[in-house]
Subunit: 353 residues, 3 copies
């Protein structure tokens, strides 16, 4: 492929903070400066972050993955964030910021150089806002946003262009509601982020069989998004039928994820893109659901369980366990099955059909 890339932080799209000394960066990243690795002479300020293969003398880079160690050795970065084990791989003339959590330090240093845009207090003149809505004076309401009757929006929250905030919806402080988001029947804590096109609070998929076809079962619950929740682009979270649908504090859902009515996620769960959780299923804290996995309804997933990609979960999963396959089984069993079947198939072919 011949596409030309650019260093991170294209000025058309990102703000850039003032250059920083190594000492400032060490403090931001909670890292120590390795005395045996001096920066190249003449560099006393760093201007940004870049991947190892693209970084120059004024850039900070990082190494987190053992298999890129050779890339580090050949890097022209001016400074690099590394775990202690990789200090000796840092090339001459490259300063080393050493920490046991290099990815976290990278996150914080990158966020220093390219801070997210805060709320620009005020209401775009095209926004349609019900007079009974309570909107903090520091909040930002974008072009063509609609805010319904009795809705509440907290301090420093940003409502993106074209977002629709339904009647009675409550949004805490420091939330970021993306463009084209639809919100109804929902209560959001603080620091909740919804990416563009997320649909939160619509009717769940509930109907009874009547004499003339299906009849809708009223969906009378809500969606609760606790503090710090993030929901990816075009994901859908249905409101509860009689109870609430709840996403626990700090949980992060990727794009195109489906959450059925009455589902309850614990704290700090991760749900990767295109996964789906059916109605009334409950997840403990720190559960990870990999991409395209599906969980049937009315089951319980214990804390810290990990559900593999494309997994089809049809029954409860114990806390701390790792499952994959469809139907779900322990990782070890799944890969053993794959190996055995391959062996049997080879034998069968060899035996001459």
């Amino acid at each position: 492929m011949t596409q030309v890339s650019s260093p991170p932080g294209d000025a058309r799209f990102f703000q850039r903070a003032a250059p920083a000394t190594l000492e400032m960066l060490a403090e931001i990243g909670n890292a120590r400066i390795e005395p045996a690795r001096k920066p190249v002479s003449g560099v006393d300020r760093y201007v940004g972050v870049a991947p190892l293969q693209a970084a120059g003398a004024a850039d900070v880079s990082f190494l987190d993955n053992r298999r890129y160690a050779a890339v580090l050795e050949a890097s022209s970065a001016g400074a690099v964030i590394v775990a202690p084990a990789f200090v000796d791989k840092v090339p001459e003339g490259c300063a080393a910021l050493v920490t046991s959590t290099p990815y976290l330090a990278w996150a914080r240093i990158a966020a220093y150089f390219h801070p997210a845009t805060g709320a620009q207090a005020g209401r775009h003149p095209t926004a349609v806002i019900d007079p009974t809505a309570e909107i903090d004076a520091t909040a930002e309401i974008g072009a063509y946003a609609c805010v319904g009757r009795g809705a509440r929006i907290g301090a420093r929250s940003i409502i993106g262009p074209h977002a629709v905030v339904g009647d009675g919806v409550s949004i805490g402080a420091h939330c970021r509601i993306g463009a084209h988001v639809t919100l109804s029947h929902a209560l959001l804590g603080d620091r909740v982020t919804l990416f563009p096109g997320a649909r939160i609070g619509q009717e769940g998929f509930g109907f009874a069989v009547g004499p003339d076809g299906f009849e809708t079962v009223p969906q009378l619950g809500r969606v609760i998004l606790e503090d710090g929740v993030e929901i990816g682009a075009n994901s859908t979270i249905d409101r509860g039928s009689a109870q609430d649908t709840v996403i626990g504090a700090g949980s992060r859902l990727d794009n195109l994820v489906q959450i059925g009515h009455n589902a309850r996620l614990g704290r700090c769960c991760i749900v990767v893109s295109q996964a789906g959780i059916s109605g009334s299923t409950e997840l403990g804290d720190f559960v990870t659901i990999a991409a395209q996995a599906g969980l049937i309804g009315h089951i319980k997933i214990g804390a810290k369980a990990r559900i593999g990609a494309q997994c089809g979960v049809m029954s409860d999963v114990e806390a701390g366990s790792d499952v994959i396959g469809s139907p779900a089984m322990p990782f070890r069993e799944f890969f053993r099955n794959v190996a055995v079947l391959r062996k049997l198939a080879k034998k069968d072919a060899g035996g001459g059909r």
Copy 2:
């Protein structure tokens, strides 16, 4: 998990009708009142519905699932809707509404207490409506909705905020078009419901290989949504290429469902979230497609067939059959295969590799 839930019908989000007597509810739910179960003294009106574990003396609850029978026995509900077999599980002081279809009765009684908001006749001043559009005077057109040239919208239909109704699109009576819906090249019957972000009528995925890359094949068909169809949030239905894409009357599609061009669904089909039906595939009536299942194109699924979750259907499926797995096979065969493979893998491990 420690989240606090609330009883259904939060007044910020739902209307609430006047309290009702047991006799009124029996009529609404087409149930009989069990004479052996008297309501607790002093209660002669019910104010709402609630799940068994949350219901109080003025609430109506229901039991549909055998495994919650113990919850019924401990419930404080004032009245409960039950099948005849569970009448003797209804606790003292709780009235019993008895019917062979308790879930349907629940749906109707819940809908009595919390009626859906009807159309508020009129056009929001921000709506952009082509002068040639024919809109019934009783229809509601929301903020920032766009209605194209020659479009038609029937009586009591609701067009949500930010919905885009394309040129020539026809919408029947009593339809509910959600916020942010895009509609083009489509004809809708009566009582059609589209949830937020549904995309109906865009070009299907059709192209030919030309000398300089792919060339688009014009997609010249339409989307037909028959009476009573419901389409979930962020689902996508492409218009036909030369024929129409058709969703049969009463069918219900969940969120994030994909329907390819020229697909034809019969009446009262169910397609659960994240399932996909490829182009030109045909479903008979009352077919059920579970979550994340995928059907290739140009196949036929017989009436009342049931396709399991994550199933990969590569060939025709007979009417009335149940299939699962990828590739699809009868349920019985799938689970037999799973069991045999497990057995073989254990034996292999035991035999010492």
Copy 3:
């Protein structure tokens, strides 16, 4: 199913060009006229295209698939586009347009009869356009579209109603940006088409584990959509974290597709609906990913590889190879495994458990 369909090209939704002679169509479709097949007397102009079973004497149809040969023999079409091998199946009174690429000829002839609507130069009065945006005078900006600071829009491009074009976004010439699209942090070439609800350029799914939960890793890259790229309805493409996310020239993505941060697709790749490509994975040119397939991150897929429907790809795939299954394996191996397992399961059942 009893739904009534209509011939393609419903006048409510499609323009129709003037009738054309057989000679004109042969030129448009780069086909030769078979002298042994004369059109029925009296027809010297064709008015449109239609499928074989619906076409009349003034319609052009086509045959591409051997299994519809019998339909051709019974067709009333006035002319048909066929490969040389099928000329003798063309019925009496039906002219034959013969070409080795009948589907491509159909695409071009259909596009002649029903040309796509071009840009109507100008800005809808409701569009909110930043004064620093550079918009070509021939571009069309739809109702309620938002165009951000420093954004650029090229000649004859169409920005659909309600589309949001973020700050700094660059859109080339002859692009079609659908209704309700969200674009940010993105650079588009020429002739790029985005279908309704596509989300391009939002933050990728990146976070580090901090002492108080997850911390966002700033996503500082962009999305590059090269010339001729098409992205389906409600698909999501995250911007890069440190590098760019790149979709190579001429690639076509279907609806509800997910592309993770830093993924790079080569030229003319095809990604069918509901498939997902995880972060940092690279595809060569002409790769095909079938529906609902999933690729983990950080792998490489060689040019012209074909990934089957629902495939779960966990490691690199060689150029030109065909894989399917979860985990992915060669097609031949997958179907052999399916057959062997069926055989073993039958034997096991027969052997009496």
